[in-house]
Symmetry: C2
Subunit: 387 residues, 2 copies
Amino acid sequence: MRHIMAARMADIEPFYAMQILARAKELEAVGKRVIHMEVGEPDFSTPQPIIDAGIEALKKHDMHYTPTIGIAALRDSIANFYRTRYGADVDPARIIVTPGASGALLLALGVLLSAGDEIILSDPGYPCYRQLVQLLDGKPINVPLGADTNYQLSAELINAHWKARTIAALVCSPSNPTGTSIPMAEMKKIVDVVTAKGGQLIVDEIYHGLTYGEDSDTALNITSDAFIVNSFSKYFQMTGWRLGWLVVPDAYRQEAAKLAQNVFLAPSTPAQYAALAAFRPETIEILEERRKEFEARRNFLLPALRDLGFKIPVTPTGAFYLYADCSAFSADSFAFAKDLLEEAYVAVTPGMDFGIHAPEKHIRFAYTTDIARLGEAVERIARFVGK
Amino acid sequence: MRHIMAARMADIEPFYAMQILARAKELEAVGKRVIHMEVGEPDFSTPQPIIDAGIEALKKHDMHYTPTIGIAALRDSIANFYRTRYGADVDPARIIVTPGASGALLLALGVLLSAGDEIILSDPGYPCYRQLVQLLDGKPINVPLGADTNYQLSAELINAHWKARTIAALVCSPSNPTGTSIPMAEMKKIVDVVTAKGGQLIVDEIYHGLTYGEDSDTALNITSDAFIVNSFSKYFQMTGWRLGWLVVPDAYRQEAAKLAQNVFLAPSTPAQYAALAAFRPETIEILEERRKEFEARRNFLLPALRDLGFKIPVTPTGAFYLYADCSAFSADSFAFAKDLLEEAYVAVTPGMDFGIHAPEKHIRFAYTTDIARLGEAVERIARFVGK
């Protein structure tokens, strides 16, 4: 048969981190001890209460399809979490449980974007945003961000980049890859400017809970008119279960559910029952301990990398990433990442995974490994850059 | 904020079966005993060996992300299943494990369809095909099918409906909603005509294993150049786990994996480990027993409905559906389905879920309930239609 390829595929890029990971595994296969700082998932296992709830569910339930938008008990638990943690009142009818934040993003973008529509994204930013927009034949507007706005979109930037075909903006706070957040005062202005433009706003809160020295607030406390993405993957450390959720504005409930029905049928049954235990006090206790560990890692790694000559002008306060300017050592961050792996056995993610704005100057370090290993990584990097 | 809606949403329809199901639940809530024949999933629970493997996995593994295309052990097991059950030699590197057949379809359509491209589909057919095509801004060509071609696409029909913008055809054998299959000789001709047209072919084999009086053969024994969709949901009865797979032609491996990376990240970790037990002899033994039970149900229900005056001109040999012409009783099958539910408490799916070709004449019965209940359903329907 003829080789037919959808036009969009030329624009959808692979994760370069995967190339690094594949090479790292080759090196490990020949006995090298690689330190992994390229992986965007917590190194911790899923907390035991969640595992136990999963096992109980497998014993008790038949594992049939659940309703498309998720079981009522879980949507109620999520609404209750918004109430107790944020003081936000969210109607469970607005919550759609999805296969990961990826599923939530696909739904939100799917109901909003017509072919050719533009959406404002941060650059650097999470690569899948751009790729999902392109899957739907929309057009990502990658706004170059720097230290002056904490590597975050602002109301001013959104206003400046909004054009005739722009229909929405997507912000992520705390951000991947920079770990920086949008202050609530700024988020309020963003809501106002998007409203004034007659557009829609998607807020990705997937790294909520993983903040250091501050607590995240949800955009739901500003507006019930935005799409809010979240997940059980990061703070709740359920990556492999593939479970997230989307809070939709009231007017989009039926359409988003209709799309979910057709694209996913339903989220994972065992994952949903397991996730019921995610909000229990004994689970939250484990998660808050681990949050402290992440904070300790950041507090160790950030000054160590700055001392070596990496430029990290804004102190990241969330997620588990440091986005570092490595131009003191190389004009090509992809080559730098590859050499660092080949020569020092430290795996990091090259900037080109996160956008087109100065990717060659940046690499991302994930502190998803313990402090002893991070210490060893710093030593290896020091030798590699000749310090 | 302004109410923005993607243009595609107007074309994407909900499952009308869901309206029936919702009303059925209301009736049950006020004490009515509804017989459910609208549900497209096996009534059996996931086989115990699979449940046990899931529990073991939760005890043993950390539930982190797996590789995007799935764990090697599962892809090897699937390849081995093709070898032992079908005598087909499939390179595991061509197998991508996905979140259900839904995920497999999204990947296949995503790498093939550019905006505006046409794809040939069967009408009646599984509704999500059309909706996923529309999600990707492609155009479904719904070919009206009748008893003369077993309610299946044929090489001749594909040839007749192929136009300048057509790039692919999608066939499903055995079919939802008709339970009919495409003979291998015809499948060979379909491959030939699609090849001659310079197009691509997607074959949905999700109901494989659930055939009665015959065994399914896979299109992989005809060509390694088509996209083959399958799932752990139906024959393996793992619906709620959301796990399926896609076999891609060699030339699409990297692009399909790239898309999977961006849309799903990875399939469910617990589901993958559980599914390793799906191919074990003790599981297959359970599944083959259940297959006999489905066959007994079909053998009971098919003549009973024909006796009542439903027209089912082709004997379905697979899946768990009977697609019946109910025009002897009503000129509006949706109204018929609603009345049948309100008055006889029997839930069925109206034809409008499956296409635009004579939906008002048809309803789908799913025999996903035991023979005693099916017998009661037949009695209720008989009273309802005045027999």
